[in-house]
């Protein structure tokens, strides 16, 4: 009798894990801050429509994976850094343009749980409380507060509030901006200290600084999976 009871409960628990994928729902996909690209990314036709609407109209540019990429590279501590490349698949935002068609402000909502890497177990670890803890903090957000001209032509310094892992901090990073095919582009590479956002686990094994890359004007492309 006990054995049968245990067997039925075990079956129920196994069904719990392999039934409906748990990726659905979540704050990222149920709140008003849901990235607009979520449904578009899942549907080819909608993606095309989104790409069309990504052109600069009426002083605004809609951004998403179809015309923007947000990537990162983390490295290990020690003699072999073994860099790990990744990015986010689902995000949406708006770039506001000034009268000259240059970028004046950026707001982007990121589905943190849409992060990808080339190694599925690493993706799981980054989603876990070891790092981004995306079950608890499924969304991230960047909202610029200031775009200042940089030292050289086409260079700007971007200041804004980044909310990541439930922590909001002001960050500043340099970027290069340009106009290509009547559309503004932005390219930024800068280090982000994960511990400043509460991601302070495994600092002895994985560097605090993560190299971020943000490109407006290039579509998101996942790199193929490889062996760790």
């Amino acid at each position: 009798m006990r054995a049968k009871l245990g067997l039925w409960i075990a079956c129920g628990l196994v069904c719990l894990g392999c039934g409906k994928p748990v990726i659905e729902g979540g704050r990222a996909t149920s709140s008003s801050a849901e990235p607009a690209s979520t449904s578009a990314a899942a549907d080819g036709e909608e993606t095309t429509a989104a790409t069309t609407s990504a052109s600069a109209t009426e002083g605004e540019l809609a951004i998403g994976p179809e015309n923007t990429k947000i990537g990162f590279v983390g490295t290990h501590v020690g003699a072999e850094p073994k860099p790990r490349t990744g990015g986010f698949e689902k995000f949406s935002g708006v770039v506001k343009l000034d009268a000259d068609g240059k970028i004046a402000s950026v707001v982007v909502d990121i589905a943190a749980d849409s992060l990808w890497t080339q190694h599925p177990p690493l993706t799981a670890h980054l989603n876990a409380p070891d790092f981004l803890d995306t079950r608890e903090y499924p969304t991230a957000k960047f909202e610029s507060t200031k775009f200042e001209d940089g030292a050289a032509d086409g260079e700007v310094t971007v200041t804004g509030d980044l909310t990541l892992h439930g922590v909001t901090k002001e960050i500043t990073f340099p970027a290069k901006v340009a106009i290509a095919h009547d559309k503004p582009t932005l390219h930024a590479e800068f280090p982000l200290k994960r511990a400043e956002f509460g991601m302070d686990k495994k600092l002895d094994g994985v560097h605090d600084e993560v190299a971020m890359t943000i490109v407006i004007g290039e579509k998101t492309e996942k790199l193929p999976e490889t062996a760790p």
């Binding site: 006990r2 054995a3 009871l5 245990g6 409960i9 075990a10 129920g12 628990l13 196994v14 719990l16 894990g17 392999c18 039934g19 409906k20 994928p21 748990v22 990726i23 659905e24 729902g25 979540g26 704050r27 996909t29 149920s30 749980d113 177990p121 799981a124 670890h125 989603n127 876990a128 409380p129 070891d130 079950r135 608890e136 499924p138 686990k201 495994k202 002895d204 094994g205």
Partner: protein, 270 residues
Amino acid sequence: MISPTEILALAIAFALSGAIAWAGWRWLPECRRGVVSLLAVAVAYAAGYFLLAYDDAIPPTRHFHWPPYLVLGAAVVARFAAVPRCPTALRWALYAAAALACAYFLTPTWPALWPPRPICIALLAGYILAVTLAIEPLLRRIDPKTMLAAMIVSLGALAMLITYRVSLVYGIFALLAAAAFAGYAAVAWRKADQVPLAGLALLYAVLACGWAFIGCIEPRPAAPGLLIAPFAPLAFAGAVAGSYRERRFALQIGAAFAILAASAAWVIVT
């Protein structure tokens, strides 16, 4: 990949469990020694956990902060439920209440949790209760050393699978359970068959099923293969029918490892 602090926490869990076992054996009267295993495992696990997560888990704010509190509570329940004179109905009721309480605290409040939280609580409570009720009679009937070894190996394997598939942090928390059991076993090994160990079934179920569940629901997609690992000691269940004495030790160990291998295969493939 394991930090010095984590190694220290594992060492403390192992050493403290052994120290409590040694002290209990030395100074407690024979009739009171049934509590030693419960005290050793629960206190050692909690000490190791709090060393790693004292700033997060005191007070607990997340579902995975609860295992040290729950294992201490389970030790109290097991102290009363596992004594031979406790009526079976009362024992089952105490175990069921403990399992339900554990499930309530170990199930997260994520809006995206599927199945919905009440169903998860019911399933997890049933899971913990089933493993407890299945293992407890084995601890009464089967060689305690063999069962201790099976539980340690199962917890260790579960920890490795969680580390591989889900999280280094969770993996270490699960490995602390193996260290706490191993510390007790290391000291009490020679006398293990002289003391009732039945109460350890609830502690094993709370820790093994608890971490298997926490590890299962965290990743996307979920990792249901982890849920199999806590059943590994049940490979001895066939022996309960009465043929245990005739069975070969290697065969039983092989069966336990087969369950762990199935769990590992499922976790790695998915």
